[in-house]
Amino acid sequence: MNQVEPWVVLSFSSIIFMIGFTGILIRKNILVILMCIELMLNAVNLTFVTYSTLLQDMAGQMSVFFIITVAAAESAVGLALVIAMFRTLRSVSTEEIQLLRE
């Protein structure tokens, strides 16, 4: 057995995904939350690549290419929003954004 079973790789990526998700749940710093989202996207990328290799198909890798680009744009927008938020709230904590509720 000098090969890793596919499900292990896939599970690995889903572990990363869940860690990212957990980050959204427990971190109060929005910057960190943004990072966690990047983690999740990376996990997805890994899944794509794994499948791509597994299926001997390039679509997965192509997707990853686009996902990386989109992720970059998304981070840019996200960071811009955080900056805007910081300007009005002087904070990047999620505790400050509970004005809209119920």
Binding site: L10, L41, V44, A59, S63, L81, L100
Partner: protein, 501 residues
Amino acid sequence: MESLTTIRPELLTLSSEQFSALMPYFWVFGATVLAILAAVMRSLSPKWPVITVVLTGLVGAIVSVAGLLGKEPVALFNGMMVSDNYTHFFSLIFLISGVVTVFASIRYLDNEAMQHPEYYLLVLFSALGMMLMASSLNLIVIFIALELMSLAVYILVGYRRTDRRSNEAAVKYFVLGSGASAVLLYGAALLYGSTGSIGIRGILDFVRANPAALSPTFTLGAWLVIIGFLFKVAAVPFHMWMPDVYEGAPTPVTGFMATGLKAAAFAAFLRVFVSTGYGAGLTTAIQTHLHDILWMSAVLTMLFGNLVALTQTNLKRMLAYSSIAHTGYLLVGMIAGPHSEQGYAPLMTYLVAYAVMNLGAFVVLSILATRDDGGLNLHDFSGLSRRHPWLAFAMAVFLFSLAGIPPTAGFAAKYILFYSAVQANEILLVVISVLCSAISVYYYLRVLVYMYMRDPVGTQTRSPVSVWSAIAVAAMVAATLQIGVMPARVVYAAKKAITSI
């Protein structure tokens, strides 16, 4: 070993059909580019040139979509995208809601002192994203289109940059939306993994070919993709973001989100839903379970939306919850679709009606909103019928329509939807739905009570009504009544559209 043919130059040429099928997108994108140019030309005062270009683009797109109606489907870009009636049907919804949003925004932005060309550009971008969502046949393209739409909307939501609520809404929406996008993407990955294809047609072919080989990952993937859409349409339990975001967003944007964005999500949802073979080859166990889940979700969505909307005093937030409730009705159509004669046509009809009446309502709110989106509490509506008789009348029409009372679009569409659910033998669901919509009557009518039956409180001034908003409102009133009285045409169009998938 055969050699790989990766270079296929034929994919890079466009036939004339393909070209004309792409015209709407060219219109919109072209308008975007031109508007950017117009905006950066310092010598021009930026407002009107940009608006003119933007509107021209949107109207041009509408015209070219109208020209495409009824044509045979055209596959584009190696089948990653298709131009069929389904696309056109939804494109019209997006484009019209774009136009209306622009109309409603002109005076609104002046009021808020944020009359920037970027705003209109972002509307165009998200409209483009929506159109692509409805037309793409590839999960990755859907994802990109979704992101294109969402990113623009994230910015629009946070567009009142100095306002806390706007910021908050934007950040919330961004975080949760990105998370949901990631979930959707994960689903796409799993679908890809289990079917070997990232294209919807490919997935469908796989499902048709190997109904027995459907694996857990396939199911999970399909479901995660669907969750991505359910998040966008705010079905319980994926709805939590919606009220906050709707409330915080600038009012015209809220209207745009409530109609265009929701319709786009449903457009893609429906395509994937139909493609992943709900009713077309899944095992009965999965189908039953999928049905159960959607059923529960629909019920909870209707209940939650309506019950909480009951307790709201801010109109925008109330409409947000009501929007959740309407998602519930749409899900009823989703459930009924595969088993009723008209399929998903009633659902699409309802989307149209919903778009029309909701846009109308939000335009009215945009007109009435005072600076920083104030003045949208119930008591601000006291005696509106004295100050703005026509506006109040229009609002009354929209509210009656939202409540599903004849002779309005909301009535016709809602009951066509429920009718088809009865055809699908979903009696209990329909009973729950009608009871929920009975609850909704209360909070819609409460607004009418304030507008018509209470005297004005304090000194309220007449808000100026711009010609553009007036046109938009009048058009929406006309459409609401028109669809209400003559729903047949929309139903047929929807039917044609859905069969063209």
